[in-house]
Symmetry: C2
Subunit: 121 residues, 2 copies
């Protein structure tokens, strides 16, 4: 199956995880119905200048942000890092992260969250 | 953890799945060591004009292609579709796909393969 930009379900999240401004999430496919794997989210996120996602942890799962365009300041489990188009951030296994649009154009990134397999299985 | 473009492990696949030309795979993170979830691949794929990935099926897993730039002709489990920047293709549960760079600039896409949870668990 395929989706075009106009097909994506959109979430607009204000103060996401305690961050600033708004985050637009375009869900590429629906977890649990279209996505049959343990993928909790598969989305394209857009943050306008000054907007951010606040610090939060990922337990028993991991999230990858892949920067498509723009410039981000990220908190990589306590370490500050500047990320640019093409860079990727991975956070899981109890670690945490935050991300802010530090530039003057939209920050666009792919976000993938995959849950860990259950222990002992 | 984060990786920049210069950090990605690169695979150059010739005649990938019986396709034409070459496919460059930049692995954003390493499955099984950096990626702890059941993610078999997380990569940025580049196909030059005329290059393709031949038709193949995904059993017990699913793959999403998200087009970052360029134009693709895809085979969506038997149906031909043109995909452009922003579009996404999902293939899993025994279905198959193929993809070709149908344009005159590089086709760049994110590819994510996640394995299904084992049955009965």
């Amino acid at each position: 199956m395929f989706h075009r930009v106009k097909d994506y379900r959109i979430d607009l999240r204000t103060a996401m995880r305690g961050g600033d401004g708004e985050v637009k999430i375009e869900h590429l496919f629906e977890p649990g119905s279209e996505l049959l794997a343990p993928t909790r989210m598969l989305g394209r996120l857009t943050l306008k200048p000054g907007c951010s996602i606040g610090f939060h942890r990922h337990e028993n799962e991991e999230e990858c942000f892949h920067i498509i365009s723009g410039v981000a300041e990220a908190d990589d489990n306590g370490a500050k890092v500047k990320l640019e188009a093409g860079d990727s951030l991975l956070t899981g296994n109890g670690a945490g992260h935050a991300i802010r649009n530090a530039g003057d154009v939209d920050l666009v990134m792919l976000a993938v969250i995959v849950k860990y397999a259950e222990a002992g299985k």
